[in-house]
């Protein structure tokens, strides 16, 4: 029997500073069989391990279309992530996964796609976005709303900016907005204030939201006011995690009628799950 906690050896190929405290890492699997067979759904995460320090759950932020490689975007915030930020190309880490349900991406097909991110929330949504770009013909109009407090903390700011021309030609709208940066030349205000500028047809769109839980209620209200279908709104949630496979109990959330392991039953939940379950957000 396999040990579900065993780690695949992965090599760091590239490290790129996204902001002062967030880096983007490109990894590849050492074992060719794993590289060939490993795949994931946008919205899923991996357990990334630093030997001797421990594991952290991190959303995969690249497209599953590129076999054997994946990207993680990681904020330096504690013991393990500090060490991760010291990694250099050529270094090795352990990875297991992918875990979690991911977004119901096949259900999204043939529809418009509205992605709303705040802060580090752009990480899992970038995976959805990249997947949609790789399968452009399967989706309708697409809007990405990327928000942060300051221009310098906007994740993937340059990447999204650089896509603008291509985006225009492809019926993709990219909206980058900040809330507290007087020097920012672009759009200002919270993510939900820009929903009205999306190119997505509300009755025809799936919506993915990821950010700090405090924003969810406001975003929901704005979406519903703008006629988006509540049945098609998805969010991803975060909890402390130790195992990623429904064993350690740390990520358990919800209430007695709807008790969920965020690592296995989530991290993606639908709007109606959220509003009917105290304690989920």
């Amino acid at each position: 029997m396999d040990n579900i906690y065993s780690l695949y050896k992965c090599r760091v190929l590239r490290v790129y500073d996204l902001t002062d405290d967030v880096k983007l890492f490109l990894f590849r699997f050492e074992n060719p069989d794993i590289a060939e067979s490993w795949t994931f759904i946008p919205g899923q995460f991996v357990q990334l391990d630093i030997p001797g320090l421990g594991e952290v759950p991190i959303s995969i932020c690249s497209s599953p279309m590129r076999k054997g490689f994946f990207e993680l975007c990681i904020k330096k915030i504690g013991r393990v992530t500090d060490k991760i930020h010291e990694l250099k190309p050529g270094d090795f880490v352990g990875v297991r996964g992918p875990y979690g349900n991911g977004f119901p991406i096949t259900e999204f097909e043939d529809n418009d796609l509205l992605l709303i991110a705040a802060g580090i929330g752009m990480a899992p949504l970038r995976s959805v976005f990249m997947y949609a770009l790789d399968n452009r013909w399967k989706f309708g109009n697409i809007t990405v709303i990327n928000s942060a407090k300051f221009g310098k903390t906007l994740l993937f700011k340059k990447e999204l900016e650089a896509m603008r021309d291509m985006a225009e030609a492809e019926n993709i709208r990219i909206i980058q907005t900040v809330t507290r940066d007087p020097d920012w030349p672009g759009r200002v205000g919270r993510a939900q204030e820009h929903i009205k500028y999306a190119n997505t047809k509300p009755e025809d769109a799936y919506v993915c939201v990821c950010g700090p839980p405090q924003i969810y209620n406001d975003v929901f209200q704005t979406l519903i006011k703008n006629s988006y279908d509540p049945r098609r709104i998805y969010v991803t949630l975060e909890r402390r995690m130790k195992c990623g496979v429904g064993k350690c109990g740390h990520c358990i959330a919800g209430s007695s009628t709807f008790l969920k392991y965020i690592c296995v039953d989530g991290p993606v939940f639908g709007y109606y799950d959220i509003i009917s379950t105290p304690g989920l957000i």
């Binding site: 029997m1 396999d2 040990n3 579900i4 906690y5 065993s6 780690l7 050896k9 030997p51 001797g52 320090l53 421990g54 594991e55 915030i77 504690g78 992530t81 090795f92 880490v93 352990g94 975060e238 909890r239 402390r240 130790k242 195992c243 496979v245 429904g246 064993k247 350690c248 109990g249 740390h250 358990i252 959330a253 919800g254 209430s255 007695s256 009628t257 008790l259 296995v264 105290p278 304690g279």
Partner: protein, 344 residues
Amino acid sequence: MRYVKITNEKIYDFLERLKNYGKLYAPVKISDKFYDRKEIEDVREIAFEYIRTLMPAKKYFVSPTEKMFEIDIEKGEYKETLENIEPFVIFGMHACEIVGLRILDGVYLDKYPDIYYKRKRDAGIIVGLSCLPDEYCFCNLTRTDFVDVGFDLFLHELPDGYLVRVGSPNGHKIVDENTDLFEEVDKNDIDAFRAFEEKRQEMFKWEGSFDNMRYILELTMEDEVWDEEVEKCFGCGNCTNTCPTCRCYDVQDIPDIDGKKAKRIRFWDSCQFRGHGLVAGGHNFRGTKRDRFLNRYICKNAYFYGLGTSYCVGCGNCTYFCPANIDYLKNLMKIRSMTEVKNG
């Protein structure tokens, strides 16, 4: 199901023979008030009358601490550490605890089967034993007072011995290899078995159904009835440690002195501890004592799909062992306004 009988004269022979199938663990009396399970040398030590032990039998399957990997930090290599597991026999598990073990099976042997648990589960033989409830037991309400799968043999007390239900191939094997110990069940035994079950049902303090509890709990979480109880709680985690279905664990890497190697260990954790829901940056998903206190009630009353019961098996351990005298069942009864005390 196959039924056989063993008489009181042969029961100690039987227990002695169980040792042929592995290390024998059974309940013994350790003080005026307490029983615990331990490895048995002298089978006459075994306490048949016990109701609960200090530690539930889960400790044999989910070790309080367990080494998972040896890590070579410099090379970035991990070696799984699978300890040598000898066959063992747990004698005397009650119905609630066996259901509890099946709940653990549902968690540990789901689509991500846990090898450390699986190996112990495969090595363990379970011999159940009937019981009569004390005032802390409420397995009748949780519908876990009788168990039909999850044991190898189950012994039901008769006036002159035990009616034995044979619940697995291993159970059949034990019976077949020791035919001199067993006899056929006759009409008197069946009557006695029925009478025992009837008497047992009479002894439960409460009656009614718990099935709507999870809804009532959800609807009353903000109520002030909880305030006083939350205040009383020390957050010590005795309740989760002694619960047959609580299984939270934490993981840590312990480096060797020279920092070149480390051991990855996991150990029991409790949702009653502050760190359980704490994430990087300081946010705590179970930040208040009330959050933590209610988390246990929420989690235990949630629906376990695998069995169609709640995660609570009604054993009463959490109340019995709580140093703050917090009565889990009474608290639930309070919000449920359930007053049908039969034998109060």
